[in-house]
């Protein structure tokens, strides 16, 4: 179709040029001069691009979304009342080149559900050696999940929200420390191994309160193999966790994280799956989680389906205490689609149905608070969440 169109245009242009050449030589001169000017403009533009833009690069991302649930169970804080804040955020990222292979990266994020307070999410120095080694130091995203680094960049993801079953049990995001990675390039595939270490001191929501979370002596390893169609990932990390709350959920407790990831993307079919385990001594819940997402791109629209599961493995540690409300068992099923409306803007619509809580609160905040206030009968045993979301990257 395009080649036909191209030929017709060329035909029109050619006959125009020919007519011009035969009858009006002056016009041909003009068009030549315009060509020359255009080329000069291009080379000037190129010089400007090379001299200025290469030193500082600015990128950003933006999301906003509408969420509503059929009850107040509290899946991802969704209730019967419409909510616009939870999914809304604005991020700005700048990269300063300090030399040929060294750069400073800053990422500032303002979130709607944190009163739009601006937070330094990333701030690190990165140096790449020519032999495949890379090292970073500063504040970085904790690389526990396949999508950790793009967690807040909705535009880069197929879903309306990352599967809560896997992405929720770790309530913190960025740590202060250093990492080193090595990439082996094989023919048609590559392996990257990364070791990281550091410290994290942050706040998280727990049972309706903001509590302090400190992870000391974080150490971990990730390994990633890809042939650019299939990707396999493995991660192991450990730390000593101190988690606030009344009563405190943990004091210097041994904590471990294990994860396996798999993804496939051939431009049409999309498959993503992760299997994770969180183990923290003390009251904080140990959970096993998994999800699988399947999607298919039809031009600008990508319908997807996700099934996920999370279950706590240490309910006996909280038995007969108020902290029983932290016990979790939940399955969730999502149907949705991503629509690439214009280059750089995507819209997503999603319906998620969560159920299978057993005797637990399902780990959902509405149910947890209900149970804590002495009204266990008001517990919802399933919930439906509807989401419309808009994502942009620039």
């Amino acid at each position: 179709m395009y080649s036909v169109y191209g030929t017709t245009t060329r035909f029109a242009l050619t006959s125009l040029t020919l007519t011009a050449a035969l009858s009006l030589p002056a016009m041909a001169d003009d068009s030549q001069r315009i060509d020359q000017l255009e080329q000069r403009l291009d080379s000037m533009q190129k010089q400007m691009t090379e001299s200025s833009l290469e030193k500082v690069r600015l990128n950003g991302f933006f999301s906003t979304g509408y969420t509503r649930a059929n009850n107040d169970a509290g899946y991802d804080d969704a209730t019967e009342k419409s909510d616009l804040e939870t999914l809304s955020l604005f991020g700005l990222q700048s990269t300063f080149a300090l030399g040929r292979n060294t750069e400073a990266v800053l990422q500032l994020v303002s979130r709607g559900n944190e009163d739009w307070d601006t937070e330094l999410e990333w701030g690190y120095l990165r140096h790449q050696f020519s032999n495949g080694f890379e090292t970073r130091a500063g504040k970085m995203r904790l690389p526990l999940f396949m999508e950790s680094e793009t967690l807040e960049i909705g535009y880069g993801q197929p879903w309306a929200r990352p599967p809560e079953a896997v992405y929720d049990p770790v309530p913190v995001r960025s740590y202060l420390g250093a990492d080193a990675a090595y990439t082996f390039n094989l023919s048609g595939s590559s392996i990257q191994a990364r070791a990281f270490a550091g410290h994290l001191d942050d706040e998280a929501d727990s049972l309706g309160r903001t509590v302090n979370v400190e992870l000391r002596n974080i150490t971990g390893l990730t390994a990633n193999w890809t042939n650019y169609l299939w990707t396999f990932r493995g991660v192991y990390a450990r730390a000593e966790a101190t988690i606030g709350g009344t009563p405190p959920l943990g004091d210097d407790e041994k904590s471990e994280f294990m994860g396996l990831g798999l993804s496939y993307d051939d431009g049409s079919w999309l498959l993503m799956s992760e299997l994770t385990r969180v183990e923290v001594d003390g009251f904080y819940q140990d959970t096993d989680s998994a999800y699988i997402t399947l999607g298919y791109r039809i031009k600008e629209v990508t319908p997807y389906a996700t099934a996920s599961w999370v279950e706590s493995q240490d309910n006996h540690e909280r038995e007969a205490t108020p902290l029983e409300v932290l016990d979790v068992r939940r399955q969730a099923y999502s149907l949705g689609f991503r629509w690439d409306m214009t280059p750089s803007v995507a819209m997503k619509m999603d319906w998620t149905h969560a159920r299978g809580f057993g005797k637990t609160t399902g780990g959902l905040i509405g149910n947890q608070l209900d149970a804590l206030s002495g009204n266990p009968g008001g517990r919802f045993d399933s919930t439906d969440v509807y989401t419309v979301r808009l994502d942009a990257a620039f």
Binding site: F11, S43, T150, I153, Y228
Partner: protein
């Protein structure tokens, strides 16, 4: 006299249509100081951020035509096998995770030719009818 000139124009134009139509195809072009040939897989690797070097080991600088250009659509179909929506999302992830930057976009076929001819280690693509001595044709992808 005037009618004759018009008919001559029509004949010439028809000839151009025939010749031009037969040769209208996508070609991969590079700087004269670069390699003589390249495989479709190597071009794909460069444009999908899997490789940063040309087959001769030089650091590569890749260029692309703007969205909506028919040669860009043809390039996506024959080489990257990904549509623009996929590529945009892919590159935003690469950029925001510090893994790389998309091929630099030039405004027209003319500027493609001029930047490729003046940039060491460059690679780009063009309609074969617009190619001249200033650049080297590295590959004519088969549909």
């Amino acid at each position: 006299m005037k009618t004759r000139r018009t008919s001559l124009t029509v004949v010439l134009a028809a000839l151009c249509l025939f010749v031009g139509g037969a040769r209208a195809e996508l070609v991969i072009i590079g700087h004269h100081g670069g390699p003589d040939t390249i495989t479709p897989q190597q071009v794909k690797d460069i444009y999908l951020n899997r490789s940063s070097r040309l087959p001769d080991g030089q650091r590569v600088v890749a260029f692309q035509l703007p969205a909506g250009n028919s040669m860009r659509d043809e390039f996506n179909e024959l080489i990257t096998e990904r549509n623009d929506a996929w590529l945009k999302s892919f590159w935003s992830r690469q950029v925001l995770t510090g893994k790389g930057h998309p091929p630099r976009e030039v405004s027209s076929a003319n500027s493609m030719k001029s930047v490729v001819s003046s940039t060491l280690g460059s690679i780009g693509y063009l309609d074969s009818t617009l190619v001249d001595d200033s650049v080297k044709v590295l590959l004519t992808p088969e549909p």
